[in-house]
Amino acid sequence: MFVKRSNQKGFTLVETVLAMAIFTFVLLILVGALTGLYRIYRATAGIRDTQQQARTVSEEITRATRNASYVIPKIDTASGNNAICLYRPASRVSNILRGPSEVFSLEGTTTKKIVWRKLDAADLALDGSTVCDPNLYANPRDLTSPEVSVMLFYPTAASLVAPATLKTMLNFELRIASTRALASEINTSVAFDPANPENTGPVCDDGLSYCSMTGISSGVQARSQIAGGD
């Protein structure tokens, strides 16, 4: 029952080394697991952000387009800063095309791009020209949150009736990446190929790992055609 006061026997060197080895091994595994957990957390949060943003942007574009008379897309192949200009219905009395109503445009640097919604600066009569210049619009409002960057914003439009310049069918591709995703997981070097819009654009490095990106491709038809010869 009595423990001697002078029992000060320690560990041997072998024991210490062994203990340290085990401890290091376990620590490495723990750190790896924790890093993995953190990556998953970021990826999950990123997916949630991109989903939310993709839905918001696509809903806003859809709603605005349904209320527009016709739509003109602007493609900037150099920067990828494309835009969708929406026009309001022509006056049925004079058949004068009303000026630009609003625009959805992509702007920003190569690493951080934001979709903006702007309204017309002045109620101009357009007299049939089909200029789509985001700089003519005012009152910008950003549609995307700071947590995401829009990698791809690609509109196409078709005219269902003559004249061919007045397009009423809009199709758009959106690809939104999370800025929470680790940079190395997203490969932005792939150029967008307009001839094959469905299979290109920014992609995840291996397509399976923790890459937070949401792509949406959808279409919408504008409310009405331009009043013709009324």
Partner: protein
Amino acid sequence: MRRGFNQAGDTLVEVVFAIAIISITLVSAYNVANNSYRIGVQARERIEAASVAQGQAELLRAWRDQNTVNMAPNQGVVPSPAGGFKVTMSPTGVITSTACGPTCLVGPGGRYQLRVTAAEVGTVFPSTSGPDGVKYTIRVEWPRIGGTGNENTEVTLTLADRRLDRTNIECDEVEKCS
């Protein structure tokens, strides 16, 4: 009977046990996180697939709207090959229908297989005048994440054939016919 100088530490068995418990806890946490990530990816894929289907529905409707002036009888609204098809819009804005079987890839990253099939509905008019409308089934499939087989979602869309109004009514102006 408190022993003042008991300097005996944990035994190796105890340490190993503790490590095992920590590991199990961590592995479970990892699994939970991984599952939540997988569910997030599944949700994203459903959204992407739904947007593909919705875009296709809109294109079908646009096709119907642009073809109201062509009054060929006994013809579906959109050319509908038996094996399925898809409607696409080129960058220059031309809407086309392409025949394709189960392997027509569309959508973000080309991961989604889209197939539209058509069935004529309602023939109240004489058969020469064609169907009242067409019911389209838009089916989108994509590979299941972390598993075998495909996930799928289906959207049906019934479009009235507006050409019937013109082919079966004997007067030119709609106002006089009502």
